[in-house]
């Protein structure tokens, strides 16, 4: 390579680099814009964690109603409601559910965070219910029979024998559901919630810079998902070591 070409490309690289650091400064440092990202991140985590807890509780209750109905024919009315709930939630887009929750169902609730938690929680509950139900169905009937033959009640057999095994089997699917939800909360900007994705959006609208804010936001989501996947894998390994299938 000719020394002059080399010097020229070095110069262009260094000018590109200084332009990028200037952009970085504008996007994150100037006017403390980094706070849009950090505040958004906490909002996102807050909504996702609360929604996953709500979804797990709802999903668990719905799953127990559904499988008890399938096995014993009890809870006919509750089962019908559960079926409608699952069909409606799984049959409509999350964005539409969020808009309906914000503008119709909870229209007199002023708290956007709470509305988002409720909408995402109810959405997640339907999916978690089907995951848990599949987990319960996957446990051999002989397990419940053995529990009942020892004199345990249906509830005792469920809590001590069937559910612990079912939950172990469905843990990967539940973890996946949380990951999907963590990413899905980014649509909360539709109702103007200041989450992580909206943080990037606000910075873009103020600085006319798209690359850096959105790539940074994507990287943060990616890192969160990777950390969570790692934790989940570790938990699965731990459960495998302490017995089970």
């Amino acid at each position: 390579m000719h020394p002059l070409t080399f010097a020229a490309s070095l110069a262009s690289l260094s000018s590109w680099w200084s332009a990028q650091s200037e952009n970085f400064y504008i996007c994150f440092v100037k006017n403390d814009r980094w706070q849009y990202i950090t505040n958004g991140l906490w909002r996102t985590l807050e909504v996702a964690l609360c929604a996953v807890v709500l979804g797990a509780i709802l999903g668990f209750l719905v799953a127990v109603v559904r499988s008890t109905h399938d096995k014993h024919g009890r809870f006919g009315f509750l089962n019908a409601i559960a079926k409608i709930y699952i069909t409606v939630i799984r049959g409509t887009p999350m964005t539409v559910q969020l808009l309906i929750a914000y503008f119709i169902v909870f229209s007199n609730l002023n708290d956007k965070v709470l509305v988002a938690i409720l909408a995402f929680g109810f959405n997640s509950g339907a999916y978690v219910a089907e995951i848990i139900r599949a987990g319960i169905t996957s446990i051999d009937d002989g397990q419940m029979e053995a529990a009942r033959s020892l004199g345990l009640s249906y509830t005792q057999g469920m809590c001590r024998v069937v559910l612990p095994q079912a939950i172990r089997n469905i843990l990967p699917a539940l973890g996946n559901e949380f990951i999907v939800m963590l990413k899905d909360t980014s649509i909360a900007s539709f109702i103007g919630l200041d989450d992580l994705a909206r943080g990037g959006s606000i910075i873009r609208s103020q600085t006319y810079q798209a690359y850096i804010p959105f790539l940074a936001v994507a990287a943060i989501y990616l890192v969160m998902v990777m950390i969570f996947s790692k934790l989940l894998a570790r938990l699965e390994r731990h459960l495998r070591r302490t017995g089970g299938k």
Binding site: A146, S149, L150, G151, Q156, P164, G243
Partner: protein, 282 residues
């Protein structure tokens, strides 16, 4: 029936019906069971006395397992009556889905059902050990949850039983670390931990590799020698011959013949029995 105070002092004897004197432990009268249009049991009548070992033999699909599963109401009889310790647990006229008296509330029926079952040990063809628990937890769970035995007492009793089935060193193993024969011996110990008044065995050796059949049969023989009341569905004719007090030959949902091993193996009266025994002899 004992009072709650007594139950506390002797958990293994709590809440148990007392056998009416002079009555057999189990009485079955005209038991029918259908699955949809399939009529599996067509009127079984028999009695099982305390300490008796009854072996049920017969061709596959003849209703042997269904009969056994009806005894502790894992299957709900379609009609018929069953008395356990003189107490009627199934009465044909007022049967509910779970086989108990329609006049009782759901809660009362469930409680009765759990009580009958806790007094009948069941051993399954496929063991059905709880894979997420250690062997000792498998054995102690039901006494602790159902009989409210203390952790210590349950553990002592469990170790005794593991000793009895020859597996005291497996207490902290998980079921999947055991062989089939070992799992079935643990399953027997688990059922015995409830101190049942009768043990029901549903083809306990059918899922085992041939070299493991002997160790399970040995445990069952030891039980029989100690006067445990047993109802055993099996294809092990040698066990039937050696251990049974009485053999029932079940085919097409009926008891075609019953008698002592000498009677049944020596001079079967029914042509179907002769035919079946001729086929299984080798």
């Amino acid at each position: 029936m004992t009072t709650p105070a007594q139950a506390k002092s002797d958990p293994f004897l709590s809440d148990r019906p007392v056998v009416a004197p002079g009555r057999p432990l189990l009485e079955v009268e005209n038991l029918h069971k259908s699955f949809g249009s399939l009529h599996v049991l067509r009127g079984i009548t028999t009695t099982i006395r305390k300490g008796e070992v009854v072996v049920v033999i017969g061709p596959s699909g003849g209703g042997k397992s269904t009969f056994l599963r009806c005894l502790n109401l894992l299957e709900v009889p379609t009609s018929g009556r069953i008395w356990f310790g003189g107490e009627e647990i199934v009465s044909g006229g007022s049967l509910r889905r779970d086989g108990t008296d329609a006049n009782l509330s759901h809660r009362e029926r469930e409680r009765n059902l759990n009580r009958y079952r806790s007094d009948m040990g069941m051993v399954f063809q496929r063991f059905n050990l709880f894979p997420h628990m250690t062997v000792i937890d498998n054995v102690t769970m039901a006494p602790r949850m159902v009989r409210r035995v203390s952790a210590d007492a349950a553990r002592r009793k469990a170790m005794e039983l593991l000793d009895r089935v020859g597996l005291p060193d497996k207490a902290n193993a998980y079921p999947q670390q055991l062989s089939g024969g070992q799992m079935q011996r643990i399953a027997i110990a688990r059922a015995l931990a409830m101190e049942p008044r009768v043990m029901l065995f549903d083809e306990p050796t059918s899922a085992l590799d041939p070299e493991m059949v002997g160790e399970v049969l040995a445990v069952m023989k030891e039980l029989a020698a100690n006067h445990m009341t047993m109802v055993v569905v099996t294809h092990e004719m040698n066990f039937a011959r050696d251990v049974a007090d009485r053999i029932l030959f079940l085919e097409g949902g009926n008891i075609l013949e019953e008698g002592t091993p000498t009677e049944l193996f020596g001079s079967p009266k029914n042509a179907r029995t002769r035919d079946f025994l001729g086929k299984v002899k080798n």
